[in-house]
C-alpha cells in the first residue's frame, strides 16, 4: 500500500508529503497532526501496527479529525502470524471510527475514495477505516478500475470542513476535561457516529452515480426465502455467494449477508435480511476471548436480532483464523449444522458457537 503511494509521490503523480515514520504510533500521530492543521491525510496498517495505533485511534475520533486509513486485516500475536483474519479490525472497533470492509480489491480501492467523502462531510467529521482481508485481497492479483485523480476529486473535492490549527484563529484541541465535561464529549462522539448514517448512505449512493459501482451498507443474497442465512464480512462472502447458489441446487435454501459497514453497525439493514430466516449463522474471523458472544460480528448480529424480538437460533461459526483458508466445504459444514436447528428457538440452543476448520 504505502510502497505504491511512495512510487506515486516519487514519480510526481501524487503531490503529497510522504512522512517516513519510525512506527505506526507515530504514523497515526503524524496524520492526526496534519489533519488538525487542515490537510487531507492517509495512512495504512495491519495487525500489530494497528494495535500500536490503538491509543491514537480513540484520540483521532474524539478530536473529530477526518483521518482515512486502510487496514489489511490480519491476525495478531502470539503466535506471530502475518496472515488474514479480523482480530486487528475487531480490536479497533470500539475506537469511534467509522469502519467499512471491502470484499474484493475493487472495493478496497473504491471505499477509500468514498471514505474521504464520509469523513470530511461536515455532518460527520470522524475518522474512517477501510478494512480488506490481508493476503486474500492485499496480496492476490485482481484487475481493478483505478479512478483518475480528477474524477476522484470531483466526487470528493478537498475542502477544509473542520476547524484547523491556524495562527490567525487560534484554537485549543485535545484539552483536559474534568468530570464536569468529559461525559459530554463522549456522548457527542456517540451521537456523531450514530448520526453519520445519512452521510454514509449518500456518499455510497453518489459513488454509484459517479462511477457506476454502487455500494450499500449491507448486501443480501437470496435472503427472502432462505432457511439459513450466513452473515459474513470481507472476502469470505466471495466464497459464500457461489456456495449459496450451489447449495440451493442441492435443496439447501441458503442466503448470504455481506456486512460492508461495520461501524456504525447498520442494524436495520442487517435485520431486513434476517427476519425471514429460520436460523442465522454468523461467520467470524476473530475471537473475543471470554466474552459470552465469542465472535465479535456475532455479538452485533445477535443483539440486532434480540432487540427486534427475533427468536430463532443465531449461531456463531468461528473460522479462518491466522490465514487458514475458508473453503466451500467449511461453509457447507456450517450450513448443515445450522439446518439441525431449523424450527428451534434460541433458548433451545445449548452451545451457540463452534470452530470450523480447526484440529480437534
Amino acid at each position: 500500500m504505502v510502497e505504491k503511494l511512495a512510487e506515486f509521490v516519487a514519480n510526481g503523480e501524487l503531490d503529497a508529503e510522504f512522512i517516513h515514520v519510525e512506527s505506526e504510533h507515530s504514523a497515526l500521530s503524524a496524520v492526526v497532526g496534519a489533519s488538525a492543521a487542515g490537510a487531507r491525510v492517509f495512512t495504512a496498517t495491519s495487525s500489530q501496527g494497528l494495535l500500536l495505533m490503538y491509543e491514537i485511534m480513540h484520540i483521532a475520533s474524539s478530536i473529530r479529525l477526518p483521518v482515512v486509513m486502510s487496514i489489511a486485516t490480519r491476525a495478531i500475536s502470539a503466535p506471530i502470524n502475518i496472515w488474514c483474519d479480523h482480530s486487528d479490525f475487531m480490536a479497533a472497533s470500539d475506537s469511534g471510527w467509522i469502519m467499512l470492509m471491502g470484499m474484493n480489491a475493487q472495493e478496497a480501492h473504491d471505499l477509500v475514495i468514498a471514505a474521504y467523502r464520509i469523513a470530511e462531510d461536515p455532518r460527520v467529521l470522524l475518522p474512517v477505516a477501510v478494512g480488506y482481508d490481508g493476503f486474500w485481497i492485499s496480496h492476490t492479483v485482481e484487475p481493478v478500475y483505478v479512478l483518475e485523480k480528477e474524477e476522484a476529486l470531483r466526487y470528493a473535492p478537498k475542502r477544509v470542513t473542520w476547524r484547523a490549527l491556524d495562527p490567525e484563529k487560534p484554537v485549543t484541541m485535545g484539552p483536559l476535561a474534568s468530570p464536569e465535561w468529559y461525559f459530554e464529549f463522549r456522548v457527542q462522539l456517540q451521537k456523531a457516529i450514530e448520526g453519520s448514517r445519512g452521510a454514509i448512505s449518500e456518499a455510497l449512493r453518489e459513488f454509484g452515480q459517479h462511477f457506476g459501482r454502487e455500494y450499500r451498507e449491507v448486501d443480501g443474497f437470496y435472503t427472502d426465502d432462505a432457511d439459513v442465512v450466513l452473515v459474513a464480512m470481507g472476502s469470505v462472502t466471495g466464497t459464500a455467494i457461489p456456495f449459496a447458489e450451489e447449495a440451493r441446487k442441492a435443496g439447501l435454501r441458503v442466503g448470504v449477508v455481506n456486512v460492508r459497514l461495520f461501524r456504525p453497525f447498520p442494524e436495520e439493514e442487517v435485520f431486513k435480511h434476517l427476519e425471514n430466516a429460520k436460523v442465522v449463522a454468523v461467520v467470524d474471523r476473530a475471537i473475543n476471548p471470554g466474552s459470552p458472544f465469542v465472535g465479535p460480528l456475532y455479538s452485533d448480529v445477535a443483539v440486532t436480532a434480540f432487540k427486534r424480538g427475533l427468536d430463532i437460533p443465531v449461531l456463531n461459526y468461528v473460522t479462518g483464523l491466522g490465514g487458514r483458508a475458508v473453503l466451500r466445504s467449511h461453509l457447507e459444514a456450517m450450513v448443515k449444522h445450522a439446518y439441525g436447528f431449523v424450527g428451534k428457538r434460541m433458548r433451545d440452543v445449548e452451545t451457540h458457537y463452534g470452530f470450523v476448520g480447526v484440529r480437534e
Binding site: D15, A16, E17, I19, H20, V21, E22, S23, H25, S26, A27, S29, A30, V31, V32, G33, A34, S35, A36, A37, G38, A39, V41, E55, I56, I59, I63, V160, L165, D166, P167, K169, P170, V171, T172, M173, G174, P175, L176, A177, S178, W181
Partner: protein, 315 residues
C-alpha cells in the same frame, strides 16, 4: 547573545494568566517566555504532562496560539505531521507562501527522555522543520513525581523513595542533548530562565533555523523538588553557578558555553534548598560534587578551554 536585552522582551502575553500551574512553577516561566520569544505564528503540539493539564482545562485555555495535545509519547510525531501539512498546503497554494508558521513540539522529561524518545528520534532524523522544547522538571510531575530518565542522582521521587535500602535515585541523568546531537541537528541548546536574555536569544535562533532544533529548558518544580515557591529563580541561578546546569548551545556542530562561570559555588548550595535532596549525607553530597566536577571537565573539553571554573569555597 548580548544583542537581546530585557527591554526587548515583548509585552504581549501569549500564555494567558489564570492557568493552573503552581505558584513558583518553573515550567510556567518557561512557557510564558517561550511564547513571547516565538511570537504568534506557531502551531504547538504538546505532550501530556503537567503543563498540558494545567493550561487546557476545558472550557478554558491559556493558549493564545493554535495548540493541540494528542498523547504523552508523540508530540514530535504530531508536530512532524503539522509541519508536513503546512509545507504541502503552501506548495498547493492553500496557505500563503509568505508567512512562516513554525511547528513547535513541547514535552516534559518523561515525554522526551523516556516514552517520547522514539518519536523525537524519528522527527530529528527526518529533518522536519520543527522546534522541540523539552521542559525538564526531572520527574513525572503530573502523575505524582515518579522518576524519569531525567531524574538526577540521589533525588527523592515517589518511585525512588528514601528507605532502609534506597537513597533516592541511584542513576545519573541521561545526556539528552548528546542523544539529539547524534542525529546531526543544526541547533541544540540548554536554557535556564534565570539567564533570560540567553534564553530568548537561543529560542529565537532555534526557531529561525530551517530544520529540526532542540531546546532543553531547566524547570524547577515546587512540589516535586520540595522547595519554597519563592526560591524558583534562585535555585535556577544556583544550578548554573554550581555547574549543575550549563547554558550552552551546539550550532552546526560548534559547541559554545553561553554562560561562563569562572568560579563555581559548591553544589551543596544548590542541593540544600531542595527537599528532594534533604536526606543526603556528607559523603553523598561529595559524590554529587565529584559527578558535577566530571561533567564540568567534559564541558570544558568540548569548549576547548576552561569556561566553567573550579569550585570556590567560602571559608
Amino acid at each position: 547573545m548580548s544583542s537581546f536585552t530585557i527591554a526587548s522582551i515583548p509585552r504581549e502575553e501569549l500564555l494567558a494568566p489564570g492557568h493552573r500551574m503552581c505558584q513558583g512553577c518553573g515550567a510556567a516561566i518557561v512557557m510564558r517566555h517561550l511564547l513571547k520569544a516565538l511570537g504568534k505564528d506557531v502551531i504547538i503540539a504538546h505532550a501530556t504532562g503537567c503543563v498540558e493539564v494545567t493550561t487546557s482545562l476545558y472550557p478554558e485555555t491559556a493558549w493564545r496560539v493554535p495548540w493541540i495535545h494528542v498523547a504523552f509519547e508523540n508530540a514530535a510525531a504530531v508536530a512532524s505531521g503539522i509541519e508536513a501539512a503546512v509545507k504541502a498546503m503552501k506548495r498547493k497554494g492553500l496557505l500563503s507562501k509568505e508567512k512562516r508558521v513554525k511547528a513547535v513540539a513541547i514535552g516534559g522529561d518523561g515525554g522526551t527522555y523516556d516514552i517520547g524518545l522514539q518519536a523525537l528520534s524519528g522527527m530529528l532524523e527526518r529533518g522536519h522543520d520543527v522546534l522541540y522544547v523539552l521542559y525538564d522538571n526531572e520527574a513525572y510531575m503530573n502523575t505524582g513525581i515518579q522518576r524519569s530518565g531525567g531524574t538526577p542522582l540521589y533525588a527523592w521521587t515517589t518511585t525512588t523513595p528514601v528507605g532502609k535500602l534506597w537513597r533516592g535515585e541511584w542513576r545519573r541523568k541521561k545526556d539528552i542533548i548528546g542523544i539529539v546531537r547524534a542525529h546531526g541537528v543544526s541547533y541544540a541548546a540548554a536554557v535556564n530562565f534565570a539567564y533570560i536574555t540567553d534564553f530568548y536569544a537561543k529560542v529565537k535562533k532555534a526557531a529561525e533555523i530551517e530544520g529540526p532544533a532542540f531546546i532543553h529548558a531547566y524547570s524547577p518544580c515546587v512540589p516535586g523538588w520540595r522547595h519554597e515557591p519563592h526560591l524558583t529563580v534562585k535555585i535556577a541561578k544556583l544550578a548554573v553557578q554550581t555547574g549543575t546546569w550549563v547554558n550552552y548551545e551546539i550550532e552546526r556542530g560548534t559547541f559554545r558555553v553561553t554562560t561562563p562561570v569562572p568560579k563555581r559555588l559548591p553544589v551543596e548550595e544548590y542541593l540544600r534548598l531542595q527537599g528532594r535532596f534533604a536526606h543526603l549525607t556528607k559523603e553523598e553530597v561529595d559524590t554529587v560534587q565529584r559527578m558535577v566536577d566530571e561533567d564540568v571537565e567534559y564541558i570544558n573539553r568540548l569548549a576547548g578551554t576552561v569556561v566553567i571554573g573550579p569550585v570556590e569555597r567560602k571559608s
